[in-house]
């Protein structure tokens, strides 16, 4: 894995395409245990991200990701705005100065992102939020040095299954208590797509 400015922009473009394609799915997931806007939030947020990136020249991956963070924070009206925003801001800070981001650095940056989300949302693993996707993916990154995109997606897939059975104790879904069990968490699913887009870009590495 080698993220340079071009690849990072590509990652965001592919993420945006997925969010547009999955807009209704994400919104539908947010209906039974939320306010039914997660797809709208993500589609708007990443569209704005892509608009911003296409309008700007970048010399550094860190700068790209900072603009991603800022755009998501200001353009997403819901909880996912500050959460994704914080995640990207942490990654941006962690990779500052690097021309291309190698796997090890990215793994470190992901740890920071997870901590950032936890802090921002005052939540931890097992509360049925996007943390339950970000955290296992980050974990997976820390392990084998021959880590491949397929391994990442395997971790993501496994995480998705287990999120369903959790009871929400943070965010809007928490109001539904035990009724939240059996539903997917919309933020975990959008996070899944974010990393799926990364896997696609990464697979094209050479």
């Amino acid at each position: 894995m080698e993220l340079d400015v071009l690849k990072t922009v590509e990652w965001m473009e592919q993420t945006n395409e997925k969010m547009q394609a999955k807009k209704d799915e994400l919104t539908t997931l947010d209906q039974p245990i939320g306010d039914g806007d997660h797809g709208i939030n993500m589609a708007r947020g990443f569209q704005e991200v892509v608009n911003k990136l296409n309008d700007t020249e970048y010399n550094e991956v860190s700068a790209v990701l900072k603009d991603v963070a800022m755009t998501l924070m200001s353009k997403v009206g819901g909880a996912s705005g500050p959460l994704y925003g914080t995640a990207f801001l942490k990654i941006s800070t962690a990779v500052k100065g690097a021309g291309t981001v190698e796997r090890d650095l990215f793994a470190k940056a992901l740890t920071e992102a997870v901590n950032g989300i936890k802090q921002r949302g005052k939540a931890t693993e097992g509360e049925k939020t996007m943390i339950d996707m970000w955290s296992p993916i980050s974990e997976a990154f820390q392990q084998a040095s021959d880590f491949r995109p397929e391994d990442m997606m395997e971790a993501a897939q496994a995480a998705l299954e287990s999120v369903k059975e959790l009871e929400a104790t943070k965010g809007r879904a928490a109001y539904f208590k035990e009724k939240s069990v059996g539903h997917l968490d919309p933020g975990a699913v959008s996070t899944f797509y974010l990393f799926e887009a990364l896997a696609d870009v990464w697979k094209g590495d050479n």
Binding site: D35, D37, N41, M73, S74, K75, V76, G77, G78, A79, G81, P82, L83, G85, T86, R120, G121, G171, R172
Partner: protein, 127 residues
């Protein structure tokens, strides 16, 4: 005379404006600013609106921020961090009932900590 300012952060601009209207009946001078809805006028909150409201509400005596539910809190915290100021306090209290108490207290020229304490004493914590 300068007063502690109040910022009302709500997912709905109607809630924020209505609360301001309720307070204005009893307190004419205390700065009350609203940050209701998203930039697109939909339900949600906006860091930019919150920042603008903080700016407007601060007469040098600091600002107390009220929010309605969940994610508004995160946006409020981000907005506060962005300003880098230490005379801003986010409070866990009912947005309508709490800000009414705060406005009366602020109008009596209490300082930020005193207003914060009064409101906290009057209400239990939010969920």
């Amino acid at each position: 005379m300068a007063f502690v300012g109040i910022v009302l952060i709500s997912h709905s601009s109607h809630i924020a404006e209505g609360t301001k209207e309720l307070i204005r009946q009893v307190m004419k001078e205390v700065p009350i600013e609203t940050a209701g809805g998203t930039d697109e006028g939909e339900i949600g909150t906006s860091i930019e609106k919150i920042n603008a409201a903080i700016e407007q509400a601060n007469q040098g005596e600091g600002v107390l921020l009220f929010y309605d539910i969940g994610s508004a809190k995160m946006n409020a915290e981000m907005a506060i961090e962005i300003t880098g100021r230490d005379d801003l306090k986010l409070i866990e209290a009912p947005i309508v009932e709490g800000s009414y108490v705060a406005a009366v207290e602020a109008g009596m020229e209490k300082n930020l900590d005193e207003v914060y304490q009064s409101v906290t004493r009057s209400f239990g914590k939010k969920q």
